[in-house]
Symmetry: C2
């Protein structure tokens, strides 16, 4: 039996204890939106990490704590992997909508039902159990740093600050996250990037107070000012007109385009699911998927001025506000886009429009031909006996491994061990026993294969 | 003693009874926003009209009743005047803010304090007492039709329907309204026009439901659609770009411009009062007043889409709504402008933007050289011993005499007998005894002078 086969065998042999450990973690609430149980769960998690030989520490942030762990390879010259996932969960209300209690993680048939069984405690526990299995069957092949977030379900507000102030502690050769479940059809999925974001609120002012609209002939209307300013920012063909906006957009490589073509995009299905008859720009097929993943946008998320209720309120508003999110792609930088927006407004005579910035997220994208990516893909094939879906980047903005990879200039990937249709954020969230055990093997296989590949590369 | 002098003397001799009649009318509540006392006040008013010899009738409308009255001249071939004002009033809450009870019309010094003493029961009662005085001192010089509205403080929603279905009943040779008070400096005021209005709500639709904003790369954003559509409707220099929008705009005549120049417009004072540092288009002086009174506009009264509260809600809205009021000037027609707006949107590719119409008001403007206007001006000079301010038109849209005049194709004027700073719609609304008595004389003088002038013209 090869090294990895014996590790897999160990997992199967210890399945009951491994399931029990996942149940133990799920049973400790950790609801970041209310804070309920989060501190207790952080301490429990740290102790469970210590049980398998990981040096663990509950570390403060500006919000809820991070649990950081570190384990070293049993061989010298091994690479270091930064693993990100989260130990906080969504609320479980209403609890009577669950077929078994959400904080019990009861086994029902081939499933573990409970809040966090997949998102993300099952994904997280796969790592701890992989450490246990590898240490019992030949030793740790790589160094690992674990970054377990306590605020992911609340948008990870404290994570950027924590990462910026702990760069040396977190620095690694690659980054990996496990979160969520398989794609429909029970296909494993590997994401290599995420979109960035710049969120701003623009505000224009007119008179000191709202006026009777007859005075609109003399007093400037701030809603019109925003309309005219917005019109200079994006044309009806959806081209963003801010000077330099597209300068740092990196188009997809031939390999990335190939991955898009393999993704099985179905226009009709997507239109149905999105509730639209047409796509922006009239794109279709792989071009539509490419537009979704590889183009930045400037989106009006909200516009408010005056009154739009019933009746005939002839009002000249004194203020107008528009919220805009720019969805960014590699290698755009939110700070740079913000400066370009300010310059654009100033240049077009809208220097008096105020910009309130509500933060940004950097986009990131890992080269699909990077050896680390190949290791993850090969591990998925080995464990699941099928080709994973490799998405070159994601449409949403996140702060998981691919974002960390971008910050540290290292390759990164996000994958998942839960079942498809795992009912995330809803009642009856579940993990299957098979997906959990396979997930442990998947983690162990990635690490082992990477150690070989990394050693071979040196 | 000439005819009108004896009429004036009669007013002075009967002042106590005339004041008592105004008190009687004020004491009967008639709050149109709640309906409280309106029907009772209509009946009281009709009986008070009958007391002075006016045939009066409480007439139903789609809302609160109109009180219609008719009195004939004591001489043949006299002209007919249509008089508009209203018997409904604003609420008086909070009543403890009043220095004397709002529904008592108590005399305090030289004032009558109470809700409606000026707006408009004092203005209305001046007519009834003028009839009484004229009948006692030589007879009615003209025919008069009285149209007393019960919904003016609620925007007169039923008046257009009433007028359209009673054209023959209301038809006259001129129209006149008394409402409100003098201008600052105790200067009588005569308005010869009012603005029109077209109020629409435009709605654009995107996807079937709100989406995560990452999908804005594929699903059209209705807020952007409205921004682009609005931008085709008005340029940053405030020119309305709807084809044919200005076709029927009648510029001011030399005489109207002269009246503007006499109006004593003060840029600094107006900017302070309006709370603005700049006027649209950078106009100043008489040009600013002319822009306020003689140009139409397209005003965004409200814009709503998505979410603009705190935080970072990255939303792709499914709908966007903008409320627009077009302030119109003679001879624009609200129905015509609506059709031009629809054509404009269709032509620019926005056929899918829905227009909900919330009604229109026709603009109107009487020629300041019309003999009827000269009669009103001369009467003001005779009674008040000073030149009135003649405003060739008003910035707001109303449905008083000038609007009726426009509908019937006859000259019309709006004037007022109350004091300046009469605290309209606020606590401690008042009428002075002097303004009330002078108002009666003003009404009688207009009628007498017009009879002479009209006879002379024939």
């Amino acid at each position: 039996m090869s090294g990895i086969q014996s590790t897999w065998q160990y997992v199967d042999d210890h399945r009951d204890q491994m399931i029990a450990d996942l149940q133990r973690l799920v049973q400790q609430k950790s609801i970041s939106s209310s804070g309920e149980g989060v501190e207790e769960c952080a301490r429990l998690l740290a102790s469970m990490m210590e049980e398998v030989g990981i040096r663990a520490e509950v570390m403060p942030t500006d919000g809820l704590p991070v649990v950081f762990g570190h384990i070293e390879a049993d061989h010298p010259d091994a690479p270091t992997l930064l693993i990100y996932t989260h130990y906080d969960v969504q609320p479980a209300d209403p609890e009577d909508a669950w077929e078994s209690p959400p904080w019990e993680a009861r086994v029902v048939g081939d499933r573990l039902i409970g809040r966090g069984t997949t998102d993300a405690k099952g994904n997280l526990m796969a790592h701890l159990k992989a450490v246990q299995a590898l240490k019992a069957t030949g030793g740790m092949p790589i160094n690992i740093k674990f970054l377990f977030d306590g605020e992911e379900e609340s948008g990870s507000p404290s994570l950027p600050g924590f990462v910026d102030s702990h760069r040396d502690l977190l620095m690694a050769d690659a980054a990996l996250s496990f979160d969520g479940g398989f794609d429909a059809g029970n296909i494993p999925r590997i994401n290599l990037g995420s979109s960035g974001l710049l969120f701003v609120s623009l505000r224009a002012k007119g008179g000191e107070h709202d006026l009777h609209s007859a005075r609109a002939r003399l007093v400037p209307n701030p809603a019109w000012k925003l309309v005219w300013a917005l019109n200079t920012m994006k044309d009806p063909d959806s081209n963003v007109l801010i000077e330099g906006f597209y300068d740092n957009v990196r188009p997809p490589t031939a390999r990335e385009r190939e991955l898009l073509e393999q993704a099985g995009w179905d226009d009709d299905e997507q239109k149905r699911s999105l509730g639209t008859d047409e796509f922006v720009g009239g794109v279709s097929g792989t071009d539509a998927l490419q537009q979704l993943l590889f183009t930045p946008t400037c989106n009006i998320a909200g516009f408010a001025s005056g009154y739009v209720g019933e009746g005939r309120k002839t009002l000249l508003p004194s203020t107008a506000t528009v919220n805009i999110d720019f969805r960014l792609v590699s290698d755009q930088d939110p700070d740079d886009i913000l400066q370009k927006l300010r310059n654009h407004l100033d240049k077009h005579g809208y220097g008096d429009i105020e910009i309130e910035t509500r933060g940004g997220v950097e986009p990131s994208r890992t080269n699909p031909d990077d050896p680390f990516v190949e290791v993850v893909v090969e591990a998925a094939k080995a464990v699941y006996q099928q080709d994973p879906t490799v998405r070159p980047t994601g449409d949403a903005s996140g702060r998981q491994a691919v974002w960390l990879a971008g910050k540290f200039g290292i390759p990164g990937a996000g994958t998942a061990v839960g079942p498809p249709d795992w009912k995330g954020h809803a009642a009856n969230e579940f993990m299957t026993i098979q997906h959990f055990l396979d997930g442990i093997k998947y983690a162990a296989t990635i690490w082992s294969n990477w150690a070989e590949r990394f050693g071979g590369r040196d």
